[in-house]
Symmetry: C2
Subunit: 199 residues, 2 copies
């Protein structure tokens, strides 16, 4: 039976970008499928009392600097030469997440492949629907239809439900992964996911 | 030239126990020496504004539970069947740390080898000098002379200096490792240390 890695994902997380490509390598090597679960990180933080590490750890001398060092090491290790913090970070990702919800299966994964480079390499302003729309259209998505769906109450509710459900399962940040019932949090856990899939 | 791993260590950290044995395996495999730098974690927390994860993360739903899960996974992976939380945790470790300061070089490492199993497997009450003393005596240390040294102002000051210096170098918790100028924090970084030593 083919194995599945559930990926709880929000475009706003730079660690989501950093985890995406090695996760796809792992999926390819192990024959596992990546099932994207779109969640809203802002809602997840509200529900859990969590906050971005840069805010939570700002009062601890050395801790944010160390996180940045580990991010640089991860980037160097994986050769992510094009990664650049988005100038509008932390941007509001709710529309992007609804776009993901509006798509099914592999089209979700393709939307991530399409939007990650503009957002996390080229500084795309995700608050500019024109700019996002032309990236989508260029990749062959029906941008107008997709944007219309982000106002559909069922799509809005599905994102809320995914977020509630993620917190219910124990998630508190992005990226979170599930292999069966085993939860893994953070890009540091990719090797454990590989071992879990192999085992 | 033989390589050195500096280990900033305090007996109070359960992660210090969990990291010690795999770190020794890495040292053996790579021919590196472990240079123990005794620090006082309580002082480190005061100086940096840090706190134990169980306290810092207590207000985030799911986060402490996840840390515990990762601890259980680490214990299972390394076969640490005898590990048991010390009933007096978080105990005051200042005397133990001064004992480490009072010893030189390999005797420091031997003191760690001697005390970790009683503390983190058999629930030794480190506040009971008799109990600690007999463990030391059984391992061939001069317990009386060592305990006397913990009242030596130079020993006390050396522990303070080590702690100040560690924070100055960017450390905020235990275990922290240095390979040259490269700092690594946490038992999750052991594989990176292995790569650093190999590179």
């Amino acid at each position: 039976m083919a194995k599945t890695i559930e990926l709880l994902f929000d475009f706003v997380s730079p660690n989501g970008y950093l985890a995406w490509y090695p996760l796809n390598d792992i999926a390819e090597q192990t024959g596992a499928a990546i099932e994207v679960v779109p969640v809203f990180l802002g809602g997840m933080h509200r529900l859990t009392g969590n906050a971005p590490p840069m805010i939570r750890d700002a009062d601890v001398k050395g801790k944010v600097e160390y996180s940045m060092l580990e991010m640089r090491r991860f980037i160097a290790k994986h050769g992510f030469d094009r990664f650049a913090m988005n100038p509008k970070f932390p941007f509001n990702s709710v529309t992007l997440q609804r776009l993901l919800i509006a798509l099914d299966g592999q089209e979700r994964n393709r939307l991530i492949d399409t939007l990650l480079p503009p957002i996390w390499e080229q500084g795309l302003d995700v608050g500019d629907p024109q700019a996002v729309g032309s990236v989508l259209a260029e990749a062959g998505f029906d941008a107008e239809a997709l944007f219309a769906k982000t106002q559909d109450p069922a799509i809005k509710q599905a994102l809320i439900d995914n977020t509630d459900n993620a917190v219910e399962r124990g998630a508190f940040g992005i990226p979170t992964f599930f292999v069966g019932k085993e939860m893994f949090f953070g890009k540091e856990r990719l090797e454990q996911i590989e071992e879990e899939l192999a085992g």
